[in-house]
């Protein structure tokens, strides 16, 4: 199945949870925030939320800004 992660399409041979995807791209769970298909998903829900084919996930962190 295909998932769009931060704008890039990725192939998965299973249905990963948000927690797994965050881990897979190398982000630190404590330092990231997630949007799944337009909705913000709280960190406590990542382990319970499974992604479907075609889902779009944004994994965001803090960056410099004015």
């Amino acid at each position: 199945m295909k998932i769009i992660i931060n704008g890039k399409t990725s192939e998965y041979d299973r249905q990963p949870t948000i927690a797994e995807v965050v881990n897979d791209i190398g982000a630190d769970q404590k330092r990231a925030a997630v949007i799944l298909n337009e909705d913000i998903v709280k960190r406590t829900e990542w382990i319970n939320t499974q992604l479907k084919d075609g889902d779009s996930i944004e994994i965001l962190v803090l960056a410099g800004g004015g």
């Binding site: 931060n6 330092r31 913000i40 965001l60 800004g65």
Partner: protein
């Protein structure tokens, strides 16, 4: 001794200089500049995690500064809905109640969208945020945002990153005249003297980013801005002398020096 603290929502700050964290060459310089500035409030942005650049993530550097309050901005948002989403994400990431609402859809001048900013501010105040909106220097808009429950208003001095200086002082003075929340000049400043001028005229605080980060020596410049903000605030409290069209001597014009004939 009168304690002169900056009050924003339910927090008080002894520093009236706020620093942006963008454009620094590396996070070590950023940390040193923040320390040198004495600031207790910094802005941050949100961006996609990039596995090729994991050190762009400010989370770790910011934990070195536990006394500094982190305020996410909504930079990148093109409208109120996106700004609200960015604010909620920022709160997820930082736990902070503070949010700088900035909505600037035009990349040439980065001027804030007043209408979307007011919409976003009203929603975010309802959601319990301490809203700090980045605005054009419009006294009517400023009053609406104050009435909506914002913690401050942040009128621009000049376009973001332009270094054009405090070009909007006359209009900012109109805002200060009627504001009952702090008026914080944000954007466009270049020199510490401009920060001092803003404070002398009654601004509650000043926010700079490029002026420090893009200086030849950001750490030194951060120190200069800290001193300028303090000088300007003290001058404001001291009360500047009146201006006159006619000269008034400060020494007695003593007749004995004149020739007697």
């Amino acid at each position: 001794m009168i304690v002169d603290e900056l009050k924003l929502a339910d927090k008080t700050f002894s520093s009236r200089l706020i620093l942006g964290t963008g454009k620094f060459s590396n996070s070590q310089v950023m940390i040193e500049a923040i320390k040198a500035s004495g600031t207790q409030l910094v802005t941050v942005a949100l961006r996609r995690f990039n596995p090729e650049r994991p050190t762009d993530d400010l989370y770790a550097p910011l934990t070195e500064l536990p006394e500094v309050t982190v305020m996410p901005n909504t930079s990148g948002a093109m409208n109120a809905q996106e700004a609200v989403r960015a604010a909620l994400l920022g709160r997820e990431l930082t736990g902070s109640r503070f949010v700088k609402v900035e909505i600037h859809p035009n990349p040439h001048h980065l001027m804030p969208d007043a209408i979307e900013t007011l919409k976003a501010a009203e929603i975010l105040v309802e959601e319990g945020f301490a809203v700090m909106p980045y605005i054009p220097p419009d006294p009517i808009l400023a009053k609406r945002l104050e009435d909506a429950g914002c913690a401050s208003v942040m009128p621009l001095g000049a376009p973001i990153g332009s270094g054009q200086g405090l070009t909007t002082l006359n209009l900012i003075k109109l805002i200060i005249r009627e504001a009952r929340i702090p008026v914080i000049v944000d954007a466009g400043l270049r020199a510490p003297s401009e920060a001092a001028a803003a404070m002398e005229n009654g601004c509650g605080a000043v926010l700079v980013n490029s002026a420090v980060a893009a200086a030849d020596d950001p750490v030194m410049m951060a120190r200069a801005f800290a001193e300028a903000v303090k000088a300007g605030r003290t001058a404001f409290q001291a009360g500047l002398m009146p201006t006159r069209e006619q000269a008034e001597a400060t020494s007695p014009l003593t007749a004995f020096l004149n020739s007697t004939s």
